[in-house]
Each structure stands twice: as structure tokens, then as C-alpha cells.
């Protein structure tokens, strides 16, 4: 749905984005993470045909950026970092103008505006100027604007920033629903918990692409897989005995638990448990140690820092 080949953008001597090769699949929620100034906004602007690449090519919904700019723009919805609404106009008028610019008929506009204003609990204030709305309400109007023409590709820049938890939940549900409808969602966010919950894959960027994969695969790649075995009583020498097993890469006792590195936990955990039970261990729980996405992100960013 989105494909880039060597996409590069420089502003004078400064490189904002370097040699980006990316593929985002149809119906995927794709998290795009990186520190401020990493090139996230530049990427979105390039993919929405707002700016031109210095080098490289990209396709959105089968249309090449630059060569088919209008078709690309018609295929995408964008929620920018700032809502960018017309403050003196009502919520309905703000949406109606954009519906017209996207070529929607009056009937389509009416039904879509009603649908999204109701979804985001803004229907009762539809005829009030948005200048008087809270930041969260404005963000919701901007999100409704991005969704109004039912684009197959959505670029969302911090969609739940400034929203209260209940509204953030509604927005996340809406994103999940859009994904179920087959929409492709390109989600720029600093909210790693949100990325973890919503994204099928994430990319970590720092001017250049550092890594792209599912959160789980990134975890495994960076930190390996650790099985945690909790027992009623643990012998400190147990780790040394477990290390002797051929399929165990490493084992330690930490915080009264046995931490074991395995190459294929699904296959090897039962063997490990059998071995431990054979040694007389009273096992209370066997779990997998999960590193947070924040740890993954920080580790990748550190890895991507220029030498």
C-alpha cells in the first residue's frame, strides 16, 4: 500500500530523511517512531505529496508520488500535529469544506459529517465555532476531517495527544475498526504503549531507518527470549546445572527466579520444565520475560546514533 525506495530529502546542507526503503501492507497499522527531528513529519509530507523528494521514489495506494500527486492526495487522509482548524467556523462547516475539496457529494458529506461527529461525541456542539473547543475536541474534529472521505491510507500524527483517556480509548477503537475495514494506517507517535497496542509493525527512525519489524520480533532480536521459572524454593546452584543442558544458551538466578535463555522456547520449555521437576523443583509459574517497547525503542535509538 505504501512503498518507498531510497527516499531522501535534504533541506540545503541538512538531511531530513536518508535513503528510506519501506513497505507498508494493506490493512496494516504501521507505527513510525523516532525522536523529534528524526524525519517523521518529512516522511509524511513526502508521502502526501506536500513536498518533493531530493532522491528516491515512493508509491501510495499504487500511485507514484510526484507523478500522480492528485491521485495520492485523494487516497490519503492526514491528521497533522496541530489540528489546523478554521476557528471562526463551526465543526460542521470545517468538515463540509474539506468534504467539498475531496469531491464528496452533498448527501455524502451530510451523512459522513453526522457519522464522525456522533462517533467522537461532538454532535451536540456541531454548530459552535471550533475556536471555543478544548484541545481534545479540536483534535477530534481534525481526526474526523481526516476520515471524512474514507481514505484507504491514513497518516495520523499523534492522534490521541491531548485527548482524555476515555476519548483516547474511543480513538484507538476507531483506529482498530479502520484497520478491520482494510485501511492502512501510518501512525506517528511518541506513545509507545499506544504503538504496542495498535501497531502490527513498527519502524524506528533517526533520519535513516534503524529497524522495522513487529514489536515482538524487535524484542527478540535485541534482547533474545528469556524464560522465567518461579519456584517455591530455588537452589543458587540450579542455574549452573541448567546451563549444562544442550539447548540452554544461558541461565542465571535473579530475584529468586530462574532466568533461562532458549533459542526456541515453544519447543524447549516443556523439556526444561521436565528437567527441573526431575530435580525436585516445585514450579509455581513459567512465563516469558517481556521487555517493554520503551526498552526496545531506546535501545534502537542508541544503536542508531551517529558514531
Amino acid at each position: 500500500m505504501i512503498r518507498t525506495e531510497g527516499l531522501t530529502r535534504r533541506f540545503g546542507a541538512q538531511t531530513a530523511l536518508e535513503n528510506l526503503d519501506l513497505q507498508v501492507h494493506r490493512g496494516e497499522v504501521f507505527g513510525y517512531l523516532g525522536p523529534n527531528g528524526a524525519g517523521k513529519t518529512t516522511t509524511v509530507r513526502l508521502l502526501c505529496c506536500l513536498i518533493k523528494p531530493t532522491a528516491g521514489r515512493a508509491w501510495v495506494n499504487g500511485h507514484e508520488i510526484g507523478a500522480e500527486s492528485d491521485a495520492v492526495r485523494a487516497s490519503v487522509g492526514i491528521l497533522t500535529e496541530m489540528p489546523g482548524l478554521y476557528d471562526r467556523m463551526t465543526a460542521v462547516r470545517n468538515l463540509d469544506i474539506f468534504g467539498r475539496l475531496y469531491g464528496m457529494s452533498a448527501a455524502e458529506r451530510e451523512s459522513q459529517i453526522k457519522r464522525y461527529l456522533q462517533l467522537f461525541a461532538l454532535w451536540d456542539v456541531r454548530d459552535q465555532p471550533v475556536g471555543g473547543f478544548s484541545r481534545g475536541m479540536r483534535q477530534k474534529v481534525a481526526l474526523a476531517r481526516a476520515l471524512l472521505h474514507e481514505p484507504p491510507v491514513l497518516f495520523l500524527d499523534e492522534p490521541t495527544a491531548a485527548l482524555d483517556p476515555e476519548m483516547a480509548h474511543i480513538v484507538r477503537d476507531a483506529i482498530a475498526e479502520l484497520k478491520n475495514q482494510g485501511r492502512t494506517i501510518f501512525l506517528c507517535t511518541h506513545n509507545l504503549d499506544e504503538a504496542e497496542r495498535l501497531c502490527d509493525r513498527i519502524a524506528v527512525l533517526r533520519t535513516h531507518l534503524i529497524a522495522v519489524d513487529t514489536p515482538e520480533n524487535l524484542r527478540r532480536r535485541l534482547f533474545g527470549r528469556h524464560t522465567v521459572v518461579r519456584m517455591r524454593q530455588i537452589d543458587p546452584e540450579l542455574a549452573a546445572r541448567v546451563r549444562d543442558l544442550p539447548f540452554v544458551q544461558h541461565a542465571i538466578v535473579e530475584d529468586g527466579q530462574l532466568l533461562v535463555d532458549l533459542t526456541d522456547p515453544e519447543l524447549q520449555n516443556p523439556q526444561l520444565v521436565r528437567y527441573l521437576v526431575g530435580l525436585g523443583a516445585e514450579i509455581q509459574a513459567v512465563t516469558e520475560l517481556k521487555h517493554s517497547l520503551e526498552e526496545v525503542y531506546l535501545s534502537l535509538i542508541e544503536e542508531g546514533k551517529p558514531a
Binding site: L50, K52, R73, V76, D87
Partner: protein, 259 residues
């Protein structure tokens, strides 16, 4: 269709932005009342004394008119210059607001992300900025002409509704208006503050006010030749400033260089 959408949006914002709206409505209205008032008092003076006197000699182009008509025509010409030049001054407020306002609202990026073409956006904004001041100028002129009808002689009245003046106000006025908008767009593309853009636009337009001054002092007399030269000159200026404005008004420039 998209141009129409932009025009509708701009006009709605103008109407809802009281400072811009009233600057557009009040200035022509007040000046029209003042101009009609001047003729009213000249008329009263004429009724009281039977004549009107001019300080100094009568300009050459007014030789042959009755003294009262000569005074009134001279005054009339000065006022007519306002109606001709008003579209030059009034769009400055709208043009500066319509573009810098978008920058300040951060609403340009979502707007530019729609399938609207740059020329459609520019055209919509230009028409939206030009039409209200031009209409305001025309309405003000119509009110002025109607207002002085019973206060002046037929000779003076014929000067007020002379076809050449009508053509000038009808054609040259909008050309002046477009020039103002295009200069406003150029100024806006380099500035953040609507007031700074308005001031720079006004500064660029000062030389054109010289035309008005020249007409006021009789150096430039409105005749078919000066009218044709005016259309040609202002038309060329419009084309040049439009070219520059379009070059500067590019999506990329707007998003990456407008600070």
C-alpha cells in the same frame, strides 16, 4: 468547484472576522458619506451666495466651465480617484489575513494535503480577496453618484457618470485590486505577521498612488489614451506580480520556508 469552495470559505471567514469585515464595509461607507456631505455643503454655500470660489486659478482642463461647476468638477475628480483606487487599498487587509491567517492557524497543511491544485487555491484566495473590495467600491460609487444627483448641475452629474469614469472604475479598479492581492501574496510568503505584510504591501503600492496624485493635480487627465495606457500598464503589472506570486506560492515553499 474547488475554487468555489475556497471562495466560500474565505468569505465566511471575512464575514466572521469582524475587524476585516468592518474595515471593508465602514471605510467606503464613511468616505462616501463624507464625499456626499462635501457636495451637500457646497450646494448649501451655492444656494446662500449664488457662487463658489476657488483659491487660486482654475486648472486648464476646467477652463470654459461655470465657476461653480469648475469647483465641483475639480472636487468630484478627486473623489472619483478614490473610487478608482479603493480596490488597490482595501484588499490589502483581506489578502494578508487570508494567507498569513492560514499560516498562523496551521490550517494550510491539511488544506494542501487535499487534491486541490496550487493554482485553484491561489485563484480562490485571490478572487475572494478582490471581489469584496471591488464590490464595496462599486456600491460606494453608486451611492455617491445617487447622493450627489440632486446637489449638482447636469454638467457636473454628467462628469460623475461619464463612460470613461465608469469604465475606469469598472475595469481599472479590479485590475488595481488584483495587483494589490498579488503583491499581498508575495509579501505574505515572506512574513509571519499580517500587519507587517499589510505595511509592506502598502509600501510597494505607494508608487501607484502617484497616479492618483497626478490625476488630482491635473498632471494626468483621464482620456481614452490614458485609460488605455492605464489598462495596459496595470495589466502588465498584474501579470508580472501574478507570475512571481505563483512561483512563491508553491506547496513546498509554503510548508518548509514559511516561518
Amino acid at each position: 468547484m474547488k475554487v468555489r469552495t475556497i471562495i466560500d470559505k474565505e468569505w465566511e471567514e471575512i464575514v466572521r472576522n469582524r475587524s476585516v469585515f468592518w474595515s471593508l464595509v465602514l471605510l467606503p461607507l464613511i468616505l462616501t458619506v463624507v464625499f456626499v456631505g462635501v457636495f451637500f455643503f457646497m450646494h448649501l454655500e451655492f444656494l446662500r451666495t449664488g457662487t463658489l470660489n476657488m483659491n487660486g486659478s482654475v486648472p486648464a482642463y476646467l477652463q470654459g466651465y461655470a465657476p461653480v461647476d469648475a469647483v465641483m468638477i475639480m472636487m468630484l475628480n478627486q473623489f472619483m480617484i478614490y473610487f478608482l483606487m479603493a480596490p488597490l487599498a482595501l484588499p490589502i487587509y483581506i489578502a494578508a489575513y487570508s494567507i498569513i491567517g492560514e499560516k498562523q492557524n496551521r490550517s494550510l497543511e491539511p488544506l494542501l494535503a487535499t487534491p486541490i491544485k496550487t493554482w485553484e487555491l491561489l485563484l480562490g484566495k485571490s478572487i475572494a480577496a478582490v471581489v469584496p473590495p471591488v464590490l464595496a467600491g462599486w456600491v460606494a460609487y453608486a451611492l455617491f453618484a445617487a447622493g450627489i444627483h440632486s446637489l449638482v448641475s447636469d454638467v457636473v452629474w454628467r462628469v460623475a457618470v461619464e463612460p470613461l469614469w465608469l469604465l475606469s472604475i469598472g475595469i481599472l479598479g479590479p485590475l488595481f485590486g488584483m495587483l494589490s492581492v498579488f503583491v499581498g501574496i508575495i509579501a505574505s510568503s515572506r512574513m509571519n505577521d499580517p500587519r507587517a505584510a499589510q505595511q509592506w504591501t502598502a509600501l510597494f503600492l505607494v508608487p501607484l498612488i502617484g497616479i492618483g496624485m497626478g490625476m488630482m493635480f491635473g498632471v494626468i487627465v483621464l482620456n481614452p489614451l490614458t485609460f488605455a495606457l492605464g489598462i495596459l500598464g496595470v495589466g502588465l503589472l498584474d501579470a508580472t506580480t501574478l507570475y512571481i506570486a505563483v512561483r512563491l506560492f508553491q506547496r513546498e515553499t509554503i510548508l518548509t520556508r514559511w516561518k
